[in-house]
Amino acid sequence: MFLNIFIAVSAYGISYNYDHFGEAVPSQSGYTVKSVIFGENMGTDSLRNPSDFFTDGENFYIADTGNNRIIVTDKSLKNVINIYEKLKVPDNSFTELSYPSGIFADENFIYIADTGNERIILINRNGEVAREIKKPRSEIYDSEKIFMPEKIIADTAGNIYSVLGNVTSGCAVFSPNGDFSGFFGADSVKPTAEIVLNYFRNFFMSDEKKSRRKRVIPSGIDNFDISSDFIFTCNLSEKSAEKIKKINSAGKNIFAERELKFGDLKPEKKSSNYKIPDTKICDVDISENGFINCIDSESGHIFQYDSDGNLLFIMGEISEKSGGFTAPTAIETLGGNIYILDSRKNNITVFELNYFGKIVHEAVNMYNSGFYEESVDLWNEIIMRNGNYTYAYTGLAFGFLRKGEYGKAMRCAEVSGNSDIYNKAFKEYRRIFLKENSGLIISILFFITVFFSFLKKIKMENLTQIKWLTYSVMHPSGFEDMRWKKAGSLKISSCLILLFFIAEITENRFFGMQFFINDERNFNIITYFIKSIILFFIWTLGNWSVSIFLDGKGIFKNIFIYSSYALFPYISQIFINIFLSHILVRDEYVFMQIVEFIGTLWTLFLLFSAVKSVHQYTVKRTFLAVFLTIIAMFSIIVILIIFILLLRQVFMFFSTIYMEIFYRVKML
């Protein structure tokens, strides 16, 4: 009667994944809710606020916290095998559990974090207490704190690890015979920008204010799982970038160097007034095949990653529906299933790997064990079922690369946004292309050289305006000559500035994909407008205002023209690099850097000489002028920002008034 039968077909609820750029896209689900199991389904009465459970592959052990008991069921969760409430102590008396909130089991013992009784106890399968661990008497353990074991695991050697509710310096470690041996996996406080800023703020703050501010404490461990020699930890702390850590026996986080992101990603464009909740990972579980499964108690989303931290699936939600959670507290995996314990609904939700999930797992396992070519067919099948599955394109790109189908590999790498693979494939592709078309390329190169050798040297007499541009750029005293001849055209300089703007955009949009792949969606033309045109105007304005104080001879128009001419090498450099980015690979990036360096240096020199000639300064005075110009530019920017902020305030004020009037009128 209490069975919750749901149709396992026709997946429902959230089904999304993240693409390479961190954008949530609709996606086929890998898991389907199979059943929801209550205490009554197991053959006992309702659970009450269960807070942890564990499976050793044969049985499930549930810490039924509110009922002060431990329930052991079989694999199916349908049949209770044992319930531990009263435990036998060696002196034949009995002891009871009080709010047991952590559970673990190995072949010898069941480990219970008996939180209410401030102890850890190990019992055997007959319910007899084998060991009892009380508050450690140690220098490193703060004796004033009560002992609050909340979660518990043990390694193969029998060492016991326990998360303590009131300790943030990592989890407590006990030797197999119960002696306290220290803390493990502590997080050090890293000098993040906020902390550095706070340090400076402290100088100006009153003590009262200081005490009110949130203290930065190292984020502790809130839950963990053990898999072979590694302990995976998670913490609820919002600020922590390392939401999941893989800690080796030396206490080092292996995930630290890699920029892995766990949990939901923040959208690039935050649009509405909603505060985006932080991911709070409250439990982590490593499945038999090494996949990392974790649950976010805030959103109810379950995330599954492969052993390298690549996202595979997202499922689950907070909702008043079967398959949704209200207070998910623990996650376990067994076979193809994921189990979620909910402490408010008092049930366990079983997610079953569906067919799509199965083929993804198969392909990922193949891929991670190096069978790239063999996995191609599977990836193709995955894409046929879910064209939005980014990981599959990466797998496919690698497969094609190994197969020697470089063109295909490049296309797949492009879709998956993976420029590493694109680079590799392109290198091979280029090698083959060069080999096949060597004759053609040599002849093109020959013609280019011939063409350039026919170009004549430019002389100063009777230069057209366009030739003045090349002249001023190519000659150290070009600007001086320009000034004497009163050359320089506003049209050309305006074109140059426009070209500068276009170059900046083109660099973002049309750069070779072996170097980086950009997300079109987050492209904002305003940024580039500010970076090029506005910045240039600020320079001109700054320089002009400085020249008033420093007796400059240049008028605004001339500063504008000369400075824009000076930008010519920089602009050319960008275009040359864009061209090069399509024929070079990453190893040859140094050539592009050289081009960039020359171009930039050249422009800097020209800018300097432009300032010098336009204002007829000495070298020393020019240096001063440039320095002051930079300061002036900063001031202009600050003023602009203040102005914009003010404008926004005014706008907001009026829009509020408008809204108010609008509603009042409507309501009349």
Binding site: M1, F2, L3, N4, I5, F6, I7, A8, V9, S10, A11, Y12, G13, I14, D19, A24, V25, P26, S27, Q28, T32, V33, S35, E40, S46, D264, P267, K269, S271, S272, Y274, I276, P277, S299, E317, S319, E320, K321, S322, K345, N346, N354, Y355, G357, M384, R385, N386, G387, N388, Y389, V415, I502, T506, R509, R521, F523, I525, E660, Y663, M667
Partner: protein
């Protein structure tokens, strides 16, 4: 004075019922006991309980003092009480509980002055005067809520097959201008069951679901859902993650031997369905009922910064239609949801002109093409919108001819986004083939090909969500909320569920324009010699317009049904519906996207294909697209069991192209043609066999691993999900997961 009478009366009742309580032990109710119960009361005090009306099958019994009445099945003697009669005996209940249980009506009202919306008053309490009078065929109860200033009457009339309870909206009197009536919860306790009883409620949420009495899920909040889906006019900035709706305004109470079906025959457009189990919110009974909204309300925030929430109500008189609920006892020994479905189907055919739309041996393949989509391209960073072809007319023809060559005999083709305006999401009434999809000639080739092969063609006009253009914009055509702002259809962030501005918000088309638009479409179809149309989600979406036009959901429903009826008469092929609410059923020829699951509310104990059981054998239907599912083999088996035809969403271009478009959910639409025809060859012979039959039995075994359905022609279809074997009248078909 009234109080004293009441107390004396209650004392009297206590003594009176204590004497007979030996006979009324509800825990061991058998049909015999019930007759005794009734007779005992009748003989001991004829003034207390009387027969108000009677026909061949039923008797309406009234208990005048508390205005409780019962519907008795004469054959079995079983009485369906409007409130639990044994409650009168129970003296340990608080007064509120008693009030609650004696109440047949709960009125909710708002006081706009105080910005409060959650006040209620019960008919069973001392604040309400109740008067019973006899009318033709039943009784009329007059409810006078003096304190808040409302009064109205409800008629309870016994008809041949059912008890009809109704309230006339025009007769509701509101004397106190401070209070406005917003909601009437009608017959809250009708047929409620106490904690000792076994049975369940049938809830038509999505495909259908069952709630067992006393299922112990007291931690969940009660079930409450709007019939025909939420009112889209009040779109929310936060996605409520609800993904199923109630299509049919019906529920049923099934006890061991007796079942009762309740249909909201009027006022359904404004009704909510409620259910709760014993132990929930301190309630002793399991109950299920309708509540009717008389005035909609809306909330807004004073300004975006202060965050004060203000509730506003619909202005003026009550705009919603009359309320009428019919209670049909299901006269069958062992009743399950298929019997209730039959009863409801009979109601639809007898009372709502539902007729058979299906032929013998008919099981078509449903193909849904997507023509084009608007895609943002950028030239040097300047975004430019471009119409991207997904399946042009030639592609569609090629796919269809491939399917024909591979053995598909019958196909129903719907085609979305096939004109320029459709691609741009503007309101469209003409069939102007888009040049980006091949132009007029190619389109005519396609329609020619379709009619040559006797396939059915349904071009899709999805107009209810639109962008400004083509004469429709926020000044003319869009729905407005009660707060006076236009309704916007938000795009939600997939991960966080809040409204996002990645894409422009759409507007909602006001029902005012439905007549104009629908008749134009049907004219244009006729001109282009197209036999049928699909109208997008309009068949399953219902909303009002609360701006100047003042269109209630009820009125919108009437507009829709009138127009559907006209289209249905005009076009031979009729309407292809994407999900269909009950009022649309008589006018649609095909229904696609009928879900296989319910809304999975926490209270539900199991899911049943109730909707399918109602319409199988009447209207051909499909489930959601087969290729969208992760377990295609299971999906095929479930389709066979529930008699659902199969539907595929198809685009010709690679789905990569959908990135950053509004169709990015079609990640599955590149499913190979060979597989489609294979699936068709498995399903179609089975469904052809049962196309005119109804579902008469449905069994779930092994915690859902084996499901079997029996059809009225004797066909039994069994799906074994663990072994992937489909058994059709003894023919075993093994489905290999890898293939599909």
């Amino acid at each position: 004075m009234i109080h004293r009478i009441k107390i004396v009366f209650i004392c009297f009742l206590m003594i009176f019922f204590t004497t007979i309580s030996g006979c009324i032990s509800p825990k061991t109710q058998s049909s015999n006991d019930e007759i005794i119960l009734y007779k005992n009361i009748e003989f001991s005090d004829s003034d207390e309980l009387r027969t108000a009306s009677e026909n061949e099958k039923f008797r309406l019994i009234v208990y005048d003092k508390t205005a409780i009445f019962g519907l008795q099945d004469k054959k079995t003697g079983y009485i369906w009480w409007s409130s639990p009669p044994e409650k009168i005996l129970n003296d340990n209940n608080s007064q509120i509980a008693e009030e609650e249980l004696n109440s047949s009506i709960v009125v909710r009202y708002g006081t706009p002055e105080n910005n409060s919306d959650n006040n209620f008053i019960r008919s069973g309490g001392s604040e309400c005067n109740v008067k019973i009078s006899d009318i033709q065929g039943g009784i009329r109860i007059f409810y006078d809520f003096e304190k808040v200033g409302f009064s109205f009457f409800a008629d309870y009339i016994l008809e041949e097959k059912y008890l009809q309870a109704s309230i006339k909206i025009s007769e509701i009197i509101e004397k106190n201008p401070e209070n406005i009536i917003t909601e009437i919860n009608f017959l809250e306790n009708f047929g409620c069951a106490d904690e000792s009883e076994n049975g369940y409620f049938i809830i038509p949420d999505g495909s259908g679901a069952l709630i067992n009495f006393n299922n112990n899920k007291t931690w969940s909040s009660g079930y409450k859902k709007r019939i025909y889906g939420e009112d889209m006019a009040f779109s929310d900035k936060k996605n409520n993650s609800e993904n199923e709706q109630i299509y049919l305004p019906v529920y049923a109470i099934v006890r061991e031997k007796n079942a009762l079906m309740a249909v909201a025959s009027k006022g359904d457009a404004n009704a909510f369905l409620l259910a709760e189990i014993s132990g929930q919110s301190g309630n002793y009974y399991n109950r299920c009922n309708f509540t009717f909204i008389l005035r909609s309300k809306d909330t807004y925030f004073n300004s975006d910064y202060s965050g004060e929430k203000i509730t506003v109500f619909e202005k003026g008189g009550i705009n919603s239609g009359d309320i009428e609920v019919r209670f049909y006892p299901v006269l069958k020994e062992k009743c399950d949801f298929t019997d209730v479905a039959e009863c409801y189907r009979n109601y639809l055919t007898d009372e709502c002109n539902l007729t058979k739309k299906i032929n013998e041996n008919y099981s078509p393949l449903y193909v849904n093409f997507f023509g084009g989509v608007e895609k943002k391209n950028s030239i040097l960073g300047i975004p430019i919108k471009k119409k991207q072809s997904l399946t042009n007319y030639e592609n569609a023809m090629k796919i269809l001819s491939d399917l024909r060559d591979k053995g598909v005999k019958n196909a129903v083709i719907s085609y979305k986004n096939l004109t320029d305006n459709e691609i741009e999401n503007k309101v469209e009434t003409e069939i102007k083939p888009s040049s980006s999809l091949g132009g007029k000639n190619k389109f005519e080739n396609l329609t020619g090909f379709i009619s040559e092969n006797n396939f059915e063609f349904y071009p899709d006009f999805d107009n209810i969500y639109f962008y400004s253009g083509n004469g429709f914009n926020s000044f003319s055509g869009a729905v407005f909320r009660i707060t006076g702002v236009k309704t916007e259809i938000y795009n939600y962030n997939l991960a966080y569920g809040f409204a996002e501005k990645q894409r422009k918000n759409k507007l909602l088309l006001s029902p005012e324009y439905f007549s104009e638009i629908f008749s134009e479409i049907s004219e244009n179809c006729k001109k282009s010699k197209i036999n049928g149309i699909s109208l997008g989600e309009i068949t399953s979406t219902l909303y009002g317009d609360y701006g100047k036009n003042k269109i209630s959901r009820n009125y919108a429903k009437n507009i829709i049904t009138e127009n559907f009826s006209e289209i249905n008469n005009n076009l031979k092929g009729g309407i292809l519906a994407e999900g269909a609410n009950a009022y649309a059923l008589p006018y649609v020829s095909h229904i696609v996207n009928i879900p296989f699951h319910s809304g999975k509310n926490d209270l539900f104990d199991s899911e049943v294909p109730f909707y399918q059981a109602v319409i199988h054998g009447i209207i051909p239907y499909t489930s959601t697209p087969v290729n969208s599912d992760a377990n295609i083999a299971d999906f095929i088996m479930f389709s066979a069991v529930t008699g659902s035809n199969i539907k595929f969403d198809i685009i010709h271009e690679n789905v990569n192209i959908l990135k950053d478009t509004e169709l990015d959910f079609l990640y599955y639409a590149n499913y190979p043609i060979e597989k489609i025809s294979e699936i068709y060859k498995i399903i179609s012979p089975i469904l052809e066999n049962i196309s005119l039959s109804t579902i008469v039995d449905y069994k779930v075994e092994n915690s859902g691993e084996i499901i079997s359905a029996t059809y009225s022609n004797g066909t039994v279809i069994t799906a074994d999900f663990s072994r992937k074997i489909l058994d059709f009248n003894g023919n075993k078909i093994s489905l290999e997961e890898e293939f599909f």
